[in-house]
Structure formats: structure tokens, C-alpha cells
């Protein structure tokens, strides 16, 4: 069975699709209500909101699919801000001709990831666009959470001397996706790091009190995220190339294509800025979690003027800017 335009016309086929695919997978009393809006219980504390749209080719990749990504992405955006993600909404744009089996698989992956992360999907929407006006599936997720602690994370908390840490190897998501794209074909599977980090981050925040700021370096990679931090704080981020965790296979794939790991997307990574006194303990803490055994301290914050400096093992330095133009395979 394939998605037809009529699945999106708001009539009986739409109703059937919602029932068969979405409600079955998400199973949430708030969704069951079939109202225009879902009614949630009172929320305590300040409320956190985040929205993201997921467009990815291929829809499935080693280590995940667009469904897992759509949950993890928004959950992580909330979590890195210090919030506890509670509720998600999901908006789908389906392309005419999409296999319903494939949709079910992806929706189930969303449901599974949401359960893993402990968040509930409370409202949804489905539209169908004509063949050639979409790319299989696009998903928007919007997340709502709350702030359990009074401590504020933010750019304004960052201080010179703070340490910059990361919870594992970079560029893994980008390489897993590249390797699935037609024509490049790495036949040895590279797994995306795509995963919700909220539980890990909650534990981190509970235990360590000097965490100043977190951000998930997704599109644009760590370089772009670090540059944003530098620009916002007007401090310099001093990064040691040697300390940047990159798995050899990821490095290899990128060297083959002439790409740099600093600009490649991550979907299960968080850059953490914390006081240097706690840095070593945080690294040990991070390394306990699965696939985070190469977490590490990658640099320090220094007074400066909004630059990101990368120091090479051979004595050079490099001024990292934001990503400028989508990374492409190169010959030179």
C-alpha cells in the first residue's frame, strides 16, 4: 500500500491512516482525544519550547532513521538547555507514493525512541504532498519541557578558564548518512550517533554544579557551534586538535572525501562548558555511558574576541569559522 493524495485530504482515508499508523504506534491518552488541541496537566516551573524540522536523505541510515532523529533532535535541544523534555508534537509531510510499510516502520521508531527518552507524543498532524514535491517524509517535532532546577545555563554563565568537553566521537552522524547516499557507498557500516541524551544530561546536571552551558553540535558541526558560543560570549575557544575525539574509520571516510570532521553534523553529541575543577570528573562520568568511551576535554575558554582557535599537534593554529556552504566531496 502506498500513500495517496487522498490520505491527506482530511477525509476518511486521513482518519484511517491516523488510526492505523499513528495512534497505534504512539498510544497516548492525549492523542486519543481527537480534539483540535491536546489538553495537558498544569506544568510547574518555567516552560521550555523547541521546534525542529527533519529532512534527511536517506530516510533510514546505519544507526537510525528520520523517526529516531526527529525525536532525539528535539529532545536534545530541550535537554541541552537544561530542561526536562516532557511532551512532543509531530507534524508529518508525506510524499504521494510513499510505502505505508515504510511509514509504519519510521513511526514505530519514533514511538520507540520517545519511550526510551521518556517523552510523550501528545499531538500530531499529517499532510500529503504530490509526488515530486516532497522527499518521502519530512517530520517536524516540537517539544515542551520544564526546568527542574533554578540554576540557569546560558552564554552569560561562561567564564574564562572554563573547560570545553564533548561526550564522544564527532562527525559520526554525517558520515553514516554520507555513506548511505548514492554513489559514495562506504560498504563498511558507520553508525550514526543519533540518540536522545536527556537522561544522561539530567544525571550530569544533578551531579555536577559547575556546568555553565551545553549545546548539541548538529548541522554545521562543532566548529559552527563553538563559533556561535565565541561570538555570543566574545571570548575565544581554544581547541586542541589532538584531543578532539574522532573514530579512525570516520576520519578515514572524511579524508577520502576531502571533508573535515569539525563541520560535520552530530546527533548524539553535546558540547559542555564547565568549570575546569570539575572537568576531569565530568569526563569520567561521560565515559560510563555507551559509545561515549572516547568522551573528553577538548579545550578551554579564554578571554578574547570571539574566535575559535584550533591548535595542531605540529605547532600550528587555525581560526575556525562557521560552516560556509554545505560540505561536498572534493578532488582538491
Amino acid at each position: 500500500m502506498k500513500i495517496l493524495l487522498s490520505h491527506g485530504d482530511g477525509g476518511s482515508l486521513t482518519n484511517q491512516l491516523v488510526k492505523d499508523v499513528f495512534r497505534t504506534a504512539f498510544q497516548d491518552e492525549f492523542l486519543e482525544e481527537e480534539g483540535d488541541a491536546s489538553i495537558l496537566p498544569n506544568m510547574s516551573g518555567r516552560v521550555a519550547v523547541s521546534t525542529d524540522t527533519f529532512v534527511i536523505d536517506p530516510l533510514e541510515f546505519p544507526g537510525g532513521d528520520i523517526g529516531k532523529l526527529a525525536i532525539a533532535g528535539t529532545v536534545n535541544d530541550l535537554a541541552v538547555s537544561g530542561a526536562i523534555p516532557q511532551y512532543l508534537t509531530a507534524g508529518f509531510i508525506l510524499e504521494e507514493g510513499l510505502s505505508i510499510e515504510r511509514l509504519k516502520k519510521i513511526v514505530q521508531s519514533m514511538a520507540h525512541t520517545a519511550r526510551d527518552a521518556g517523552v510523550r507524543i501528545v499531538a500530531g498532524d499529517t499532510k500529503v504532498v504530490e509526488r515530486g514535491k516532497g522527499d518521502g517524509i519530512y517530520i517536524n517535532t516540537t517539544g515542551i519541557g520544564y526546568y527542574p532546577i533554578e540554576r540557569r545555563l546560558g552564554f552569560d554563565q561562561i567564564q574564562p578558564g572554563d573547560c570545553i568537553l564533548i561526550n564522544g566521537g564527532i562527525a559520526e552522524h554525517a558520515v553514516a548518512v554520507l555513506s548511505e547516499r548514492a554513489g559514495i557507498g562506504f560498504s563498511e557500516v558507520l553508525q550514526s550517533d543519533c540518540r536522545p541524551l536527556n537522561k544522561m544530561i539530567y544525571a550530569l546536571l544533578k551531579r555536577f554544579h559547575s556546568v555553565r552551558f551545553m549545546r548539541d553540535p548538529t548541522r554545521g558541526g562543532i566548529a559552527t557551534t563553538l563559533k556561535e558560543i565565541a561570538l555570543q560570549t566574545k571570548m575565544d575557544m581554544m581547541i586542541q586538535e589532538e584531543f578532539l575525539p574522532v573514530r579512525p574509520r570516520v576520519r578515514g571516510a572524511l579524508e577520502l572525501l576531502g571533508m573535515e570532521p569539525y563541520y560535520m553534523a552530530n546527533e548524539g553529541k553535546v558540547l559542555i562548558i564547565a568549570a575546569s575543577e570539575e572537568a576531569d570528573e565530568i569526563v569520567s562520568f561521560l565515559r560510563q555511558f555507551p559509545d561515549q568511551e572516547i568522551a573528553g576535554r577538548i579545550g578551554t575558554v579564554q578571554t578574547g574576541s570571539g574566535n575559535v582557535w584550533l591548535k595542531t599537534p605540529f605547532g600550528g593554529t587555525r581560526n575556525l569559522g562557521m560552516l560556509s556552504g554545505t560540505p561536498l566531496p572534493r578532488i582538491c
Partner: protein, 74 residues
């Protein structure tokens, strides 16, 4: 000018035009028509999806050893 990496042949395709190579654990298919003869286990230099030379492993080891020896000289 020309990005290239030395990758190890791990499998030669049945057509004889292609081989699978490993570079730091990443595997891709590359063309081998520009080389006379290659064997599994050899390293080749890969550029835009083609192997353009067989790496001389002896010389690769020798050269660095020579420099190391020269360091010891002084």
C-alpha cells in the same frame, strides 16, 4: 591539487576493473584499470575513486627509517 589517500586492497572485483579498499577502517570500491596488476593486501593511492599507483611499501618504511637513522647520527 589532488587529494589522494593510501588504501589497502581487501578484495578484487570479478570484472578486474574494481577493488574494495580499506582506509582507516572505511571501505569503498575503487577502479584499478590504471594499474598493471594489483593484489589483495597491497596499498594503492586512491584519487577520485581510482587507484593511481601501487604504494611501494619497502620504500615507505625505508624512507622514514632513513630519517630516523639520520636523527641518530648526530
Amino acid at each position: 591539487m589532488c587529494l589522494s589517500v593510501p588504501a589497502k586492497i581487501i578484495e578484487i572485483g570479478s570484472s578486474g576493473w574494481q577493488a574494495k579498499v580499506d582506509y582507516l577502517g572505511s571501505h569503498i570500491d575503487v577502479g584499478i584499470s590504471l594499474l598493471d596488476r594489483v593484489e589483495v593486501g597491497q596499498y594503492v593511492l586512491v584519487h577520485v575513486g581510482e587507484a593511481i599507483q601501487v604504494v611501494d611499501e619497502e620504500l615507505a618504511k625505508e624512507s622514514i627509517e632513513i630519517w630516523k637513522g639520520w636523527l641518530d647520527e648526530a
